[in-house]
Amino acid sequence: MKNKNANIFTVTTFTFVIIFLYIPILLLIVYSFNDSKIISSWRGFTFKYYYLLLKNREIINAFKNTMIIGVLSTIASTVLGVLSALALENKRFFGTKFFKGLVFVPLIMPDILMGVSLALLFSFLKIRMGMFTVLIAHITFCVSYTIIVIQSRLEGFDYHLEEAAMDLGANKTQIFFKIKLPLMMPGIIAAALLAFTLSIDDFVITFFTSGRGFNTLPVYVEGAIRRGTITTINALSTLMIGLTLMFATITKRIRKYLIAV
């Protein structure tokens, strides 16, 4: 009872935060169906922009690129994450501190520094920027996240299970594939999802490492905003919101299933 005022305060702030977070998203969805070239005035319902969107070669291409980069960087950074998390189980091998620092620092580095430094590295090495360089950049910023997510899951690992299996005569490969890997799975999936989200969302680092001619969706959208060809962007955003929500629900199901198993 004493806390009634405090409760009203936290609930009000929370409601405000939620409204604040959802304003732009709801707005985009509503206006993607607006039959008007000027964004502010409502001229009736239309699917026109969705149709135009599906005819736009550049957008489809950018979407394809985003997916390719997203999937490849997720796979690579998750594999690196699993290996490193297994290494970090051992708290004191040679160079642990250095390695941990190397993993943590990229997490807080502003995107712009990573973008600039990679762009200059590629120019120094005379590597033409394109899909390959974007992929390298994405793996670089995803890998710290995958390592930390998988490693934090391993922290609560019950080593008695391994010992029990060993006592029962399982060999090392069997222990790894039958016990450790399945138990690590929720962490691995969480890490992969995070990496994929980070990859398809990234603008700044991709902007620095993509060069001319290679666009991911965020880079395309930014260009379109700059050029003023914005009518289809609302439709595109709505589709993307739909896709991500679908993706989120599916992965939630998968996670539930895995935990149940």
Binding site: K2, N5, A6, T10, T13, F14, F16, V17, I18, F20, L21, I23, P24, I25, L27, Y31, I39, S40, L83, S84, L86, A87, L88, E89, F93, G95, F99, L102, P106, I108, M109, P110, D111, I112, L113, M114, V116, S117, A119, L120, L121, S123, F124, I139, T140, V143, I200, D201, F203, F207, L217, P218, V221, E222, I233, S237, M240, I241, L245, A248
Partner: protein
């Protein structure tokens, strides 16, 4: 004993080999690029890339008032953003942490969903919302609150608003996980002993969530220092943030890569200094807690 040592050694080599792929990846693509930045800052500028002539030109330019100013406004922006995120984020995180298990998950998902929408698109949406012919201005005019549209974008107000919008979850999530672990019986004890809710909050709740506040502040403040795309899309072109200046010098012709490198290094030094500061604060807090504990014994 000897056998155990051997085993330990074998285990260490095994761990080392496992960490090797990620370690070499990060050395090559995270660490070495900063060395390249360092080298490039001593080259001579060219309108396209660089001339391989060693010079201190970049450093002569770095300390001009123009760049000092952009560092200053970036720092100010990061500070205001962090503070506002804290003001909004703390009550929100507190509510989530103290909700029942079922509601908790729903509230967390509500905070996380906007994360799943591309952030360029969300910024773009704010631009529509705030523009002179946008919904907000139209609504204000409709309700006779204003006569002429307010200029709500292309200024610092819009930059701060969108920065808070984008970085808020980075503050809420660490705060939430910190507050959730808090021992709430302490609060009840303080109240039972007659402390007012206000006193309980400032003397117990807030000090106990120090680690969460620190983590959230780092996650907002440091990335906010290098903000580029938000000021670029909703800010004014009269006052450029350091992220914008670095990007222009890298991307737009006439380029100036050595200067961009020198400015990036400055930003890096500033961040490192701040990290050391944060770290010392963290240690200080911990020490003080321990000293207090011992005093009480």
């Amino acid at each position: 004993m000897n056998n155990e040592q051997k085993h330990e050694k074998k285990k260490n080599i095994y761990s080392w080999i496992l960490s090797l792929p990620a370690m070499s990846w990060l050395i090559f693509f995270f660490l070495i690029p900063y060395i390249i930045i360092f080298i490039y800052s001593f080259y001579q500028a060219d309108i396209y890339d660089i001339k391989a002539i060693l010079t201190l030109d970049a450093y002569k330019n770095v300390f001009s008032p123009e760049y000092f100013r952009s560092f200053f406004i970036s720092f100010r922006l990061a500070l205001i953003t962090t503070f506002l995120c804290f003001l909004l984020g703390y009550p929100a995180a507190y509510l989530i942490a103290r909700s029942s298990e079922k509601i908790k998950n729903t509230l967390l998902v509500l905070i996380i969903i906007p994360f799943w929408t591309n952030f360029i698109i969300r910024i773009f949406s704010w631009r529509i919302f705030l523009s002179p012919e946008g919904i907000l201005n139209n609504a204000l005019i409709y309700f006779n609150l204003i006569d002429t549209p307010l200029m709500l974008i292309r200024n610092d107000f819009a930059v701060i608003l969108v920065m808070v919008y984008v970085y808020l979850p980075y503050m809420i999530l660490p705060l939430y996980s910190n507050i959730e672990k808090m021992d709430f019986t302490l609060l009840d004890a303080a109240m039972d002993l007659g402390a007012s809710p206000k006193k309980t909050f400032f003397k117990i709740t807030l000090p106990l969530s120090k680690d969460g506040i620190l983590a959230g502040s780092i996650l907002v403040f440091i990335p906010a220092l290098g903000a580029y795309i938000i000021p670029q899309l909703v800010g004014s072109q009269d006052s450029l943030y350091i992220g914008q200046i670095i990007t222009y010098k890298i991307k737009n012709i006439p380029r100036n890569w050595p200067l961009a490198s020198a400015l990036s290094l400055m930003l890096l030094i500033l961040i490192s200094a701040l990290m050391v500061l944060f770290y010392t604060l963290h240690i200080k807090f911990k020490e003080r807690m321990i000293v207090k504990d011992e005093d009480e014994k």
